[in-house]
Symmetry: C2
Subunit: 388 residues, 2 copies
DNA sequence: CTGAAAGCGCTAACAG
DNA sequence: CTGTTAGCGCTTTCAG
């Protein structure tokens, strides 16, 4: 590929004129316009400003341009200004690819997701992705999102690692003994996770403090006078699932209420499973029937509310219901759902900070971070909050 | 950076042994293991298989390896096998960055989004992103997601273009006179859109056929016996918004029903605006009060249903409600919402196909594609569908 | 303080 | 059929 300088020479015009003719950034006499285009045509040149062009216009070597652009070496004020002016005039931006090849980096962070089946949903994740991208960009990186299957994600990760496509990964949707985490740990690839796995593995993560969150909402219900409070949680075995159940016990303990086994249901994270659990709980004899249902996710709470509405139960009055996540639709439901909001922008920023520490091999004061969620009280537990 | 060959030489072991010692892919005698690691240490080598290593192991030049890997040039069967074996033994994958620099491409597609405010929601978009990533990968590309503000997206696009970060873009959430489209068109950057803009601009897009969709659901309501059908649509001025309203007229026309101005409300795409519109409609005198409310989005329908529930109206019996999009929560609501499902995987695949045609400068038979949505009938219009 | 030159990993002319 | 070599755009020693 020819350079701008050659095109300009062939067209017998100054370099800057050739640039203006080709870019259209500034008007140029008709004759010159034509001859520049002709020259570009014969040389097979398409406008693409490189460090060479800047160097040629500033009358310095490409090394000097590089020094100036990166402040990586002292340069006299005079040449510095010439270079900067040339760069501005040509609207120069360093080619990321060239820069990356030289540095053996990509400044790209991999973020994989698998398709979410109907009936499940991950409403948080798209917002997480946004804030993650934002945070990553503040460090001069970008996010490469890729798709993988739910069952065998490893191949996709492996491919990206081996082709040097990314410098590291951010994981979400982690689970106990997560195969991806094991793999990345073994391969010594930098990563950070949104979510925990198990307590044998030591890796950087940020998670929401579900234990504290569920304790918050349970205490809120107790303060409203409820004494028979049920919990609809996830099956045993996940760190964050178990933590949420623990938060429920914490709050009961603190209020000197004794938990009852029949009030605790542990089912899959789907609205139908939660609705079935609610049906079981409502079938308990009147004296032990719970008056409040704490759900560990909004998805479950939505299923429960749908079931209760169908039964003609007045949610908020007859029975209180709460969720977790603050799904965007939660406040639009009838009645609006009391829930726990994760500070998703904050979470994303912190995961990214952890990853950046890994990439730059900086020591972080803390590699495992729990962030407290915020209790959002709405009419599903407190009907006086009802919108008119 | 030293090569594997040099490390092997210094450790006095075969190249493959050095690889095994360093990668841990296969066990190696203790002594060799140690000396290889020592050699790597002193040379400052970290394992990174390149084309040179494969060439060294196969005893050919790097060019030959390249020919074999890309099938870009005839190679004798014997050397071909040797190269392939070497590549397999070393688990070689070409470095994407080197390849891209040489080709002046990135094999990356940019996909930007802006933060979605509370009260709005874009439930489709994360699923779209998944399928888009999947489709793009089938062409050997990846998706680079980036964040931009709602008001001034151009800078982010411009930056990615100028730094040669991406080969093209996929746009979603388009609107009339979309500044991004104008910019990309002017800059002659390849892109394809999910959604239309205006009919002056000629660019590749895929959109859902909202006109046909709304006609479908309106006809469905007519077939259930409704004659007073209201429409809650978006403000005039957007191509797809106006198309949906047109579909409503189409269906009424076909059934020889005359539309009434008071039945048509055009408000912003939020649940509260839609709820207010529903309140207005219910306040009409009994003889002209609509018995069915067609909403042009699920988000609006959710607001409407929430309002009706609050009023004690029996949705599906007293009044029918329908939406558009098939948001994952729609089937979990009480009652489950009749809606139109966009074949999002198909849409994503088609947008990507359009973009690939642009990138490879292949002519496409059609650069503007409308995809028909599918009517999903649930209890909000047809109570007999009620789940037990 | 500035420039020449090597090289990051790869592809593709061009010789042999 | 295979190897040598010249870049792709950039950063960074190393001389001057």
């Amino acid at each position: 590929m020819a350079t701008l300088k050659e095109v300009a020479a062939q067209a017998h015009v100054p370099l800057l004129t050739a640039y203006h003719a080709l870019s259209g950034a500034q008007a140029v006499p008709e004759a010159q316009q034509r001859s520049v285009h002709a020259a570009a045509e014969t040389l097979g040149y398409t406008l693409n400003i490189t460090i060479k062009d800047v160097a040629a216009l500033a009358g310095v070597s490409i090394a000097t341009v590089s020094y100036v652009m990166n402040n990586s070496y002292p340069v006299s004020e005079a040449t510095r200004r010439r270079v900067l002016e040339a760069a501005t005039a040509l609207n120069y931006r360093p080619n990321a690819n060239g820069r990356n090849l030289q540095a053996s980096k990509t400044r790209l962070i991999g973020y994989g997701w698998h398709n979410i089946k109907r009936g499940q949903s991950a409403p948080l994740l798209d917002r997480f992705t946004y804030w993650m991208a934002q945070a990553v960009e503040s460090y001069g990186y970008h996010v490469l999102t890729f798709a993988h299957t739910e069952d065998s994600p490893i191949d996709a990760y492996q491919e990206l690692i081996q082709t040097n496509r990314v410098d590291g990964f951010i994981l979400a949707h982690t689970n106990r003994n997560d195969a991806r985490i094991r793999h990345l740990l073994e391969a010594r690839v930098p990563f950070a996770a949104f979510g925990r796995a198990n307590d044998r593995w030591n890796f950087p993560y940020v998670d929401v403090d579900g234990r504290h969150g569920i304790a918050l909402v349970t205490s809120h219900l107790i303060s409203l006078g409820h004494t028979r409070i049920a919990l609809i949680g996830w099956p045993e075995g996940s760190l964050s699932g178990d933590a949420r159940v623990q938060g429920y016990f914490d709050a009961l303990d603190a209020a000197a209420l004794s938990p009852q086994a029949s009030w605790i249901r542990r089912v899959e994270n789907t609205s139908t499973a939660a609705a079935a659990a609610a049906a079981d709980l409502l079938a308990l004899p009147t004296q032990t029937r719970p008056t409040a249902l704490v759900c560990v996710s909004d998805l479950m709470a939505i299923g429960v509310m749908s079931y209760l509405n169908r039964c003609g139960v007045q949610i908020g009055y007859d029975i209180a219901v709460s969720g977790f996540d603050d799904d965007p639709v939660s406040e639009l439901l009838y009645p609006p759902l009391t829930t726990l909001r994760q500070p998703i922008d904050d979470l994303a920023a912190q995961v990214v900070a952890l990853l950046m520490a890994e990439l730059e091999r900086l020591p972080m004061p803390q590699r495992q971070i729990l962030v407290a969620p915020e209790l959002i009280v709405r009419a599903s537990t407190d009907p006086h909050r009802q919108v008119p």
